[in-house]
Amino acid sequence: MTAPAAPAAPPGPPAPPPLVNVTIDGVTVQVPPGTSIIEAAKRAGVLVPHYCYHPSLPSPAVCRMCLVEVEKMPKLVPACVTTVAEGQVVHVASPSAKKARQGVLEFLLINHPLDCPICDQAGECELQDFVFQEGRSGSRYDEYAKRYNPVEEFGPDVLYVANRCILCTRCVRFMDSVAQEPVLNVSERGDRAFIGIAEAQRLDHAWAGNVVDLCPVGSLISRDFLHKARAWDLDKAASVCGGCSQGCNVMLDTRDDVVVRVRPRPNLDVNRHFICDHGRLDYRWMNRGDRVEVPRVLRDGRLVDAGWEVALPRLAALAGEGGGPVVLLASGRASVESLGLLRRLVGDRPVTAAVQVPLGEEAPLAGVPNLALRAERVPNAEGARRLGYVAPWDAAVDAAAGAALVILLDVAVDAALGARLSGLPGALVVLATAEPEALRDAALVLPVTNLAEETGVFVNRDGRAQRYSQAKAAPGMARPAWWVAAEALALRGADAPGTAAQAFADVATAWPAFGGLTHADLGHTGRVLPAVAGAA
């Protein structure tokens, strides 16, 4: 699973062919045969400017931006489709290559509206970037620019601003080759060409939003993000999508501690460069205002606000050693750290643990193997199972009626579930993000963070453990659930972790399914956990 390029081979693969030596702007690198110059250049630390090329799409070599000079070749060649040859010497920054690219940039700008002040892409626009880097300081274009109607609605969330389009065709190729539902086209020809759509269809594919990310300029834009923020005002955090068990790697973009956008973060083993629209648009819950912000304890038959210094001893007492049976009901959005430490907190007592997993329709991305919006609409169901949250959900809820202690971790409680969990004989402890309105008789309500507010690990459906980072501050006194459990453990005199990394190491040591891994081991793209027979 660690070899980056080689596809899965049958047992006993032949020795890989020898690497090719290529020198790019003076830096010699060794790359596998068949590598394109543009990818080899990345290894040499050289970014060849480009528009139509994208590593997850077929290369048409049409923007002609990546023209480079290769010694002994008569003409400049497109780096995206020219493969390296042994001993090749490539000049990306040579005068002829630079002039060619300057020419392309000038051509791309002659009809461009330069409406950057009102363009969502400004600040993360590849046209801006490359013109800034090596474009001419002024245009020699003295004619009228062509203009289209300003905005066309391609689909529920995708708008097309034809005037800004540079016809790189990434969007068309994504729908053709990756989504395999060609609903976009290049219409007309010559300088009259634009990206078109038929009257009979809309761009409403479950993965359509990727065209917005793929667009190198501000031509395809998201209605959801329209005029919400300037790119340079955003803070970004590497995260993992909470929308389903695929575990797509994402970037959470926040502005003033509000999540305003979710974008894919490349992980060639999980989601390549893509995320589905469900994951992209399902972030508003992270910004919910009806949050539990203060621990609440039962006093005189009423829940009243209290500090952690009051709530934690109560929790430690309720979860103490030697008590009766415990039922743990946890959200599939809870982290490995939180799920693991809660189990440790009630470690020696009989435990029935279950994870809440809402289901939905599967929506595969046809052109990428093993990539789909999965039916299990939570990110960590697999992690929970590997931590023993394996009881059937209904049976576990039923078991609550016979338990001495019931702990809910960020469980979504509707009226029906609320009814089943009311009037329990044992104590009810609710670790909640949002206000648990359907629960009236909890002994403790403890504010915990959601995935945007904490660092943690999820395990996706394929057993890949992936780390996500905190994107915004937690509201009020909310803390990660693992911290709550750890503090209660500490009150009992146990050696408890103080950071998410320590919490993960603690869990990974205790549970063989996690093979003693650490946060550092997971890196940016995660690690597949060793297969463990019957994690339960």
Binding site: P182, N185, E188, R189, G196
Partner: protein
């Protein structure tokens, strides 16, 4: 006078399928000649145009359905080729070459005469009597016979302003 163009199918009229009966048989007869159905796209579009005089969006969607393509794909192809009409036309469509070789030999005068005598007035417009639509086209590959003109499916060589009235008179 082979053209059956411009029979008044305007936008907004519900689409009557083209590919039933004889047109469908003509299309299906082409399938064995190509390894893919997609390769029959240009021929299928020609059939639509022969049957309806122009190619509407619903017709593109129908072609897409018949050939296992998407409407947007078909539209991208239709808009690439200049001979497919995307709007209703007059009963007769006249294509006039004005590219350099013909331009050297008076093609622009011929074009002006055609626009005037037909009543079309301007390029792309249909004459008030519904007879003609005139379009300017690039090289028709008959540069030795300026000005070449195509009326519907008739290729006419050596048209000049003097011969325009007689040419138009042949088409009702």
């Amino acid at each position: 006078m082979s053209g059956a163009h411009g029979n008044g199918h305007g936008a907004g009229v519900p689409h009557e399928p083209v590919f039933t009966g004889e047109p469908l048989r003509r299309l299906e007869a082409l399938f064995p000649k190509y390894p893919t159905k997609q390769a029959c796209l240009l021929p299928a579009l020609w059939i639509v145009q022969e049957e309806r005089g122009w190619i509407s969006e619903p017709a593109m969607a129908e072609v897409a359905q018949v050939l296992g393509l998407t409407p947007a794909y078909v539209k991208g192809v239709v808009t690439f080729y200049t001979m497919y009409h995307r709007h209703p036309t007059g009963r007769h469509v006249i294509q006039v070459c004005t590219t350099s070789p013909c331009g050297l030999c008076g093609a622009e005068d011929t074009l002006r005469a055609l626009l005037r005598e037909s009543g079309c007035g301007e390029l792309g417009a249909t004459s008030p009597d519904g007879r003609f639509t005139i379009v300017e086209v690039e090289c028709l590959g008959a540069c030795g016979f300026p000005t070449p003109v195509i009326v519907d499916e008739d290729f006419v060589e050596s048209v000049s302003p003097a011969t325009v009235p007689a040419l138009l008179a042949r088409y009702a």
